[in-house]
Every structure is written in C-alpha cells, then in structure tokens.
C-alpha cells in the first residue's frame, strides 16, 4: 500500500471515530445534571424564564431529536450556536484553536530541542555521572505540578527579569514566539523526561548495533557518528513516544492555558462544561478527537518515513 492510500484510508477512519465522539460527547454532557438556562439567568432564574430559553434553544425537544439536529447541522458544516455567548460555535473554535495549536507545537519543539542533546549526553557514556544526572534531574519535571512550575517561571522570568510577558498569546509570529515561550516550556518540561528516556534507551540500543561498530572501525568521528548514524535510527521510537504524549497533551493543556491566561480550546472546553454550553462541548470534543487521530496518523507517517523497513500496510 502506498503512502497516499494509507493516509486516505486513515482519514476515512476519521468518520466513524468522529461519529463515536459525537455520540459520547452529546449524551454524556446531557447526562450531567445542570442547566444552561439556569447558569445564564443565575439567581434571577424563574421557571417561566427557564422554559422560554429552553424553547428558544430547542432544549425542550426529545434528546434524540436534539442529537439528530446536531448531526444534521454538522454534515452541513454548522456546529451550532453557543448557548452562553449566543454566537456560532465554529467562530469560537477557530478563534481559539490557533492558541492551543501554538502551545502544543511549540512545546513539542522545545521538548525535542531539550531532549535530543540531553539524551545524547546520557547515552554517550552509559552509567556515568552525566548519564545518572540526565536521567534523574528531568524527572523533576514529571513530578512538578504544571501550575507550580508556571508560577516560578512567571515570578522569575516575567515579573523579576521581565524577559517574557506574564500571560497572553501575543500577536504576530514573533509575538507568539515570545509570549508563548513560558507556557510552552512549562508543557515541555513535563514531556522531556519521557522523551529523554525513550531516546537514551534507543540510542544505547543503536550504539551496540553492528553498523555502528563498523562506522567506528572506519574512523567516523564521535559527533558525526552520533548525528548521522545513531540519532536517525534512535529517534524512531522517540517519535512514537512523542506522538502518543502529544495526544495526551491535547487534552491536558488546560492548566497551562488557565495559568497563563491563553484563551485556547482547553479553556473553552472547561468553561463550556461548567456553563453547560452543550453545542460548544460537543464541538470541542469532536475537534479534540480529530486532533488526536491526526497526530497519531502523522506519527505513523513520520515513523515510516524515518524507517524504510516500516511498510504502510502493517
């Protein structure tokens, strides 16, 4: 099977996945007690006002009808209207998705930039002091709560030294790179230990391979040996680890978005759950589902591209 056929087949698999996500998201949010009309009206809610809003939003119709209406709109490219904001859901998502994508991609890049050299240092001499340090210190990143690390970075680098803004998404590419550095670093720090360990283990494995011994015997210098022969082969398992973790990250950027006040899709999701803004929750869940599938697809494609032994039909 060619690469294109593989990609198309995987993209087609998105359809049942998306339908599954809509069913789960739709019925789960409706199972949770609570009422969007009550949220919006607050203490001024009366049965009459609630009934009026329910009728206006179609929430007085049977649940199956509401789901059918949602799907009907969806196939026509309409994600519905936010009950809370009273604006199209698609607009809310498209305005917030870039911030989350920036966060995830930027964090991924920072994680790679940190992890690759550290893994190389660790693998260059197994069980040496530097190996133990590289393996142990980044583990702190796993144990450190994101909000705490974020707070330290904000206090030191943003408030004390004023190197970065405390919060926000910035504007323009340079603005985004500047403003999103601290939040992305916060996410990356949690990602690094996993990637470093995967990469180190894989490098040690490759270092013992015959072709590396041959390259050494032929007098290939150390740094070149690492970059040209070891890294390219060792990075393959690390790509899988990174891909899986980015999948988790998509659903887990909320705290970082919250602390750094980045109006991303994670923040939208949580706010909408609290407000019982059903159409937004359904749409964001759908987007999350699609993103996870796409990241997995990209991981598979990248894996196959890096390792010619991997075939697309496996």
């Amino acid at each position: 099977m060619g690469r294109m056929t593989f990609v198309i087949r995987r993209l087609l698999l998105l359809i049942p996945t998306a339908v599954g996500v809509t069913i789960i998201a739709f019925f789960m949010i409706h199972l949770i007690p609570g009422d969007p009309a009550q949220t919006i009206l607050g203490i001024h809610a009366t049965p009459q006002k609630i009934a009026l809003l329910h009728h206006q939003w179609g929430l007085d119709r049977p649940l199956a009808d509401q789901y059918w209406l949602f799907m009907d709109r969806l196939v026509h490219g309409n994600l519905g209207q936010s009950l809370y904001y009273g604006v199209p859901v698609s607009g809310l998502i498209t305005s917030r998705l870039p911030a989350t994508l920036w966060l995830i991609i930027y964090a991924g890049v920072i994680a790679i930039v940190i992890s690759v050299p550290l893994a190389m240092i660790a693998a260059s001499r197994k069980d040496a002091v530097r190996d133990h340090i590289v393996r142990a210190v980044p583990l702190l990143g796993l144990g450190m709560p994101a909000f705490w690390l974020a707070l330290i970075l904000q206090s030191e680098l943003a408030v004390k030294y004023r190197l970065f803004p405390v919060t926000g998404y910035g504007s323009g590419v340079i603005g985004h790179l500047h403003s999103m550095f601290l939040p992305s670093l916060t996410v990356a720090v949690a990602l690094c230990p996993v990637v470093i360990r995967a990469l180190r283990a894989s490098m040690l494995n490759v270092l013992g391979a015959d072709y590396v011994t041959t390259a050494r015997a032929k007098g290939v210098p150390g740094p070149r040996l690492f970059v040209r022969h070891v890294l390219r082969n060792a990075i393959i398992p690390a790509v899988t680890v990174l891909g899986i973790n980015i999948g988790f990250l998509i659903g887990g950027t909320l705290i970082v978005e919250q602390v750094f006040s980045i109006g991303g899709i994670g923040q939208l999701m949580i706010g909408s759950i609290f407000q019982r803004d059903f159409p937004v929750v359904q749409a964001v869940a759908l987007v999350f589902g699609i993103m996870v599938v796409l990241v997995n697809l990209l991981t598979d494609v990248a894996y196959a591209s890096l390792d010619p032994r991997v075939r697309f039909d496996r």
Binding site: I32, Q38, G42, I43, H44, Q48, A99, R162, S261, G271
Partner: protein, 521 residues
C-alpha cells in the same frame, strides 16, 4: 405637580459624593487623587477580569462581568450616585411627576450623540425602554410598572405607569434601561449587540471571546474633555495569582477581585494600590422551609445565634468585612442599622433550641458548590459551631451548576448564597427575598410572613422617603426576628490597581465610570 429640577438632582448627587468622601473606603494608596497638572490623556488600560463577559445584550444579561463593561457603551437616563444610595441625572436632566404619581415627564440632555455621530432623541429612549419592557426572559420585570412610553417631541419622554411606583428612577438607572439607537439602527437585536452603539464614553472595537474585549474612546462623548483614556481592554484571566502577577509586572493595570488571602500583602506592595470599595454584597445561610425542621422559627433562630460572624469574617475575608444584621446591606437606601439580626450568643442559641420541635438536635446537610474555597470554609465553621446544639451537619459539595439548580429547585436543607444590588433601591431585594409568590420564592426558602409581604409591597408605592423608611424598618425587623436566613456578613469589593491608575472608583453596586479614569506618567 411635584417637580425636581436638574439643579436639585445635582445637589443630591453632590451631597452623596461629599458623604462618601467622609465615609471613604480603605486603601493603601490614593488612586483617586489627581496630580497638580491634571489628568493625563491617552493610553490603553488593561483590566484583568476573573471571567470573560458573556453578552452585551443589556436587556437579557445577568452576568456582572458583562454588565460592568456594557455600561461604558450604553447609558441610562439616570445613574447611581457614588454612595449607591441615590440616583443622579445622566441622559435626562430632570423630570416632572403628575399629581396622581402615574405620569413622569423626562427632559433629555441636549447635545448627546451616539458614538456613530447621530443625535440621541426621545425616539431612541422610547425604543430602548420598550425593548427591555418586552424582555420576558430578561429584565422585563424591572419595568413592570411602566404601561407605555411616549415621545411627544425630540427632547421629551413621557412614561405612563400602571400604578404608583416609588423605585421608578432607581429602575431607570439600571443598565438594562440604557439607551440604544431607535430600531437598533436598522439591525436585528442579535446583529446590534455583536458591536453595540451607545452614548457612553467608549465605543466598540473588538471582542475575541475568552481572550479580550476592547473599547476605544468615543469621540462624540457628551461630557466635556472625557474620557481620558484612548482605550480599555478587558482580559479574561481566571487565575487569581496570574491577575496579581499581571498588575505587579505592569502587564495589566486593574485586577478585579484578588484573592482575600493576598489583600494584606497587596496593601504593602509599593507598585500597586489595594482598595476595598464599599459594596452591597451580603452573604447569607438560607434555610429551606419546605424541609423539616426549618419551618420551626426556633430552629432557625438557634442556628443564627450559634454562628460566630467575626470568626467567619476572619477565616474567609481575612478580617475585611462586617457582620450582617439585616437582609439589606448598609449601602442600600432605607437600611436600618438597628435591625436586630441575630449575632453569636451560644446560651441564647441553646435556649432557642430547647424551645424548638427538635430540642435534642437533628442531622442536616449544607450544600455548597465545588471550587469555592470561601464557601467550603464557611461550611466547615458552621458544621463545627452547630455541634454544641447537637445538630450534625453533613457538607455536600456539588458541581456549581448543580448546586445552583438544586438551590433554586429547593432541593437542599441549608445553602450558602449571596446578593448584590442591581438598583439603588431595596425593592428588588425585598421582593426577591421576602415574597414567596415571586419567582424567587423568598430567596428560594419558601419563607412566608404575610405581614412582611404586605409591608414590602406597600413600600413600593409610597413616595415619601420618611414613610418608606418607617415601613422598611418594620420589614427588616420582622424578617430578622423570623431568621428566615442567617445574615452572615457584608463584604467589600477588592480591587488592585497599578500605582499610576487615577480616578478609578467602584460604586457599592459594582459599577465603575471609566470616563473618569486616567493613567499618570
């Protein structure tokens, strides 16, 4: 015919401001002081809010974060005075009232233009009031006394009432009665409120939902020389700590509602001013009278008497509040400081309990929303303080939406709740809290004292202030003696501002006039 002139109205407002200057609010700095060179023009002020606005539709919105922003765009005929106890002319300059009290004729301020440059006329006022009157799922009830609105000429508006209605001016000062262009300038309501137009000091720029909402200076604003700022951006910053860091780092200039735990430290932070503005926020413990044994006044009294308010204030507000003695807060007209709301007295609590239907105690539940640390603290203290009465309290923590729904459906035993005033008149609160036939069923307690209900509605139609005061004193006393809720504490509004922010002031109703704010160099 009684006539109140513009001069008289300004005198009332002036005395209110003077009174306020005497009462003051606590602050570490003087962010209302002006420099000798006068206000500086220009600049963008960033206002960090804990929550995003929801909608700009003034006739249907109940969310404070939206209300306080839209008030910078759309203005009513009257506005609340700085002490929160009266109104002063705003887009109207005065009114006359017919002898039967059923017709009010308002004169509109000359030279007022919308931000699109079109003059404001009586047709705009008529349209605006009629839209709010028709908002059944919104604020329509606040204008329920208005029968019809006439616009006999461009600068005169006549309101015909169904019955005599004392709170009319207070009702007209509500943001929901803000003036918008006739027929929404040819747009639908939904289109109009995506980028509303008004006569206020600022006009629409953009709203990136969940990120920021920006208003820019209205070049047609009617107050000479105002506003001073070029623009204001409200940002959505849910984390208390992040808002504080933004202000201390200079990324934002105003932090709305910092955490109580940080108030003391912020008071001694040199780069900011920590101000506690007088507010109308009152916190209560509600008893559901549909559940046994809360129909028993002695049980309610016993619980009210067993709660140590100063301890609550120390634990929750870090000392920045006052014990509540009435359903009404002190910043509301007709508040009676001598109202005998129950205060901590364990011996009296035990005596009340002994007289009750459950002298040996009972088991009950206090419901609180999750994620609210203040309420969690109060619930724990109440749980502990009711032990000497042999009342075992289970704390039930629910998702905020569910907790609210259960409260309003009266599926609770005891619940914590609060109120802030929308208008400078006690009528809305009194009806909401004391009338079981209102939509709120006496603050969702089902409390029903026919005398209190009768007096509450009588006070709506008495236009003589002294007679209204006398009646509201009786209402407050009766409600306090019945202990239909335990009145817990009055809380101020905490705000942190950068030290270069000048002229920022919050009324007890929570609104602020950003046209008076400027940034010093």
């Amino acid at each position: 015919m009684r006539k109140r002139t513009a001069l008289m109205n300004f005198l009332i407002a002036g005395s209110a401001v003077a009174l306020l200057a005497g009462c003051g609010s606590s602050s570490s700095g003087s962010n209302n002081s002006s420099s000798s060179s006068g206000p500086v023009r220009g600049g963008n002020l960033v206002f960090a809010n804990p929550q995003d606005a929801q909608s700009m539709d003034e006739s249907t919105i109940f969310d404070n974060n939206s209300i306080w922003i839209l008030e910078q765009i759309m203005q009513p005929l009257y506005t609340v005075t700085d002490n929160g106890k009266g109104v002063m002319p705003w887009l109207a300059t005065g009114y006359t009232m017919s002898p039967d009290g059923l017709t009010y004729t308002f004169t509109l301020r000359k030279g007022v233009e919308f931000s699109n440059g079109k003059p404001m006329t009586s047709a705009d006022v008529k349209w605006s009031l009629e839209q709010t009157m028709a908002a059944k799922a919104g604020w329509g009830y606040i204008d329920a006394a208005i029968k019809s609105v006439d616009a006999p000429n461009a600068s005169t508006v006549v309101l015909h009432l169904k019955y005599k209605w004392a709170p009319l001016l207070a009702d007209l000062s509500l943001f929901a009665n803000g003036i918008v262009p006739n027929n929404y300038g040819g747009k639908t309501a939904a289109q109009f409120y995506q980028a509303p137009v008004g006569t206020g000091p600022f006009m629409w720029d953009y709203w990136h939902k969940g990120q920021g909402l920006k208003l820019v200076k209205n070049p047609h604003y009617w107050e000479p020389g105002k506003p001073y700022l070029n623009s204001i951006t409200w940002t959505d910053v849910p984390s208390d700590n992040t808002r504080q860091l933004q202000v201390t780092s200079g990324q934002a200039q105003i932090d709305q509602f910092p955490a109580w735990a940080t108030v003391s430290a912020l008071k001694s932070t040199p780069s900011v001013n920590m101000t506690l503005f007088n507010s109308t926020e009152t916190n209560y413990l509600a008893f559901n009278e549909k559940v046994k044994p809360f129909q028993d006044v002695n049980v309610r009294r016993a619980i009210s008497l067993a709660i140590n308010r100063p301890s609550l204030i120390k634990a929750v507000l870090f000392g920045n509040g006052k014990p509540a003695n009435s359903l009404f807060p002190p910043q509301v007209p007709y508040y009676d400081p001598s109202t005998p709301g129950y205060q901590y007295n364990l011996a009296a609590a035990k005596a009340a309990m002994a007289k009750s239907s459950v002298p040996h105690g009972f088991t009950t539940t206090i419901t609180i929303p999750s994620g609210n640390s203040d309420y969690a603290t109060i619930a724990t203290i109440v749980q502990s303080e009711l032990k000497p009465l042999n009342i075992k309290v289970n704390v039930q923590t629910l998702d905020p939406n569910v907790a609210n729904a259960n409260f309003q459906a009266q599926k609770y035993d005891m619940s914590l709740t609060l109120w802030t005033m929308d208008i400078p008149d006690p009528d809305e609160l009194a009806t909401f809290g004391l009338d079981p036939t209102s939509g709120a069923k006496s603050f969702f307690t089902s409390y029903d004292n026919p005398t209190v209900v009768k007096d509450t509605h009588s006070a709506e139609q008495i236009t003589t202030p002294s007679a209204r005061q006398a009646l509201y004193n009786i209402v407050q006393t009766d409600a306090a003696k019945d202990a239909f809720m335990a009145f817990l504490y009055y809380s101020p509004y905490p705000y942190v501002t950068s030290s270069n922010v000048r002229g920022f002031f919050v009324t007890p109703l929570g609104n602020y006039h950003m046209e008076n704010v400027w940034l010093s160099k």
